[in-house]
């Protein structure tokens, strides 16, 4: 019943004549599995791989991230900090996707899942006649720690 993504999921999804399972792709996914909750950029992943002793080309990291998010294994995020960030995709058909709270003081990224967003989507669809398929929702503010500091 576990819904955790594993290397097997990758193998599963890459079945077919057009994709291949390569060590590079596996190891990139592994980085995300080993760093749950992190929001990693291509550069981050590349650096972590270096640390682990894998010398993979940065371009390959970019290509793997693109592929993994096309396969819905990773979720692509744009926090407006100048680079794309990825994390394991935790959304399933019936589960609510989570969203981000970014502390503008310390940079910490917290997460939340909330049904209110679904209500909001339903409401928008009704009022605007727009069929929503995806969203990018990020809140900025001060985390509890930084509120105290001030």
């Amino acid at each position: 019943m576990s819904n955790k993504i594993t290397i097997d999921d990758l193998t599963q999804k890459l079945k077919g004549p057009h994709h291949k399972i390569t060590p590079q792709r596996k190891i990139v996914l592994e980085v995300f599995i080993e760093n749950p909750g992190e929001h990693l950029s291509a550069e981050d992943v590349h650096y972590i791989l270096r640390d682990k002793g894998y010398d993979i080309g940065l371009a390959t990291v970019y290509r793997s991230l693109e592929l993994l998010s096309d396969l819905s294994i990773l979720q692509k995020n744009d926090f407006g900090d100048g680079c794309r960030r990825y994390e394991l995709n935790t959304a399933t058909a019936d589960a609510h996707q989570h969203h981000h709270l970014i502390c503008v003081s310390c940079g910490k990224v917290a997460e939340f899942a909330d049904d209110l967003l679904d209500e909001l989507e339903d409401d928008i669809m009704k009022k605007s006649n727009f069929k929503i398929t995806d969203h990018q929702v990020t809140f900025y503010g001060y985390c509890s720690k930084c509120q105290k500091k001030k």
Copy 2:
């Protein structure tokens, strides 16, 4: 009682020893006043200015956009299409900010203002102990026209 932004607002906000009112800054703001509802990138603004016969450096456009959004005259948007986009800031102390619906088929940007988002923010603040100061909310989907085309 009008809450429309004018060149006077710029003059107003640039009062003080650290900022100057320049023709470049005025004309950049004018572009937004003359193109209500558009979400313009630096390149867009630069192009429009060219068309109007003003030969302003692109770097100056970037600097003006930065300044105008620092002054809350413009609102900065990140639609994830590779460049920052700006529009006149319609948010006031008591008015709700508007948000975006982007059609992934035709690229049209629609807007909505909804109180549900405020409820969502309140809820998040209560549950997560995060003091929200800003947000970036964008929905992607199909506009009514493109739904029919399919």
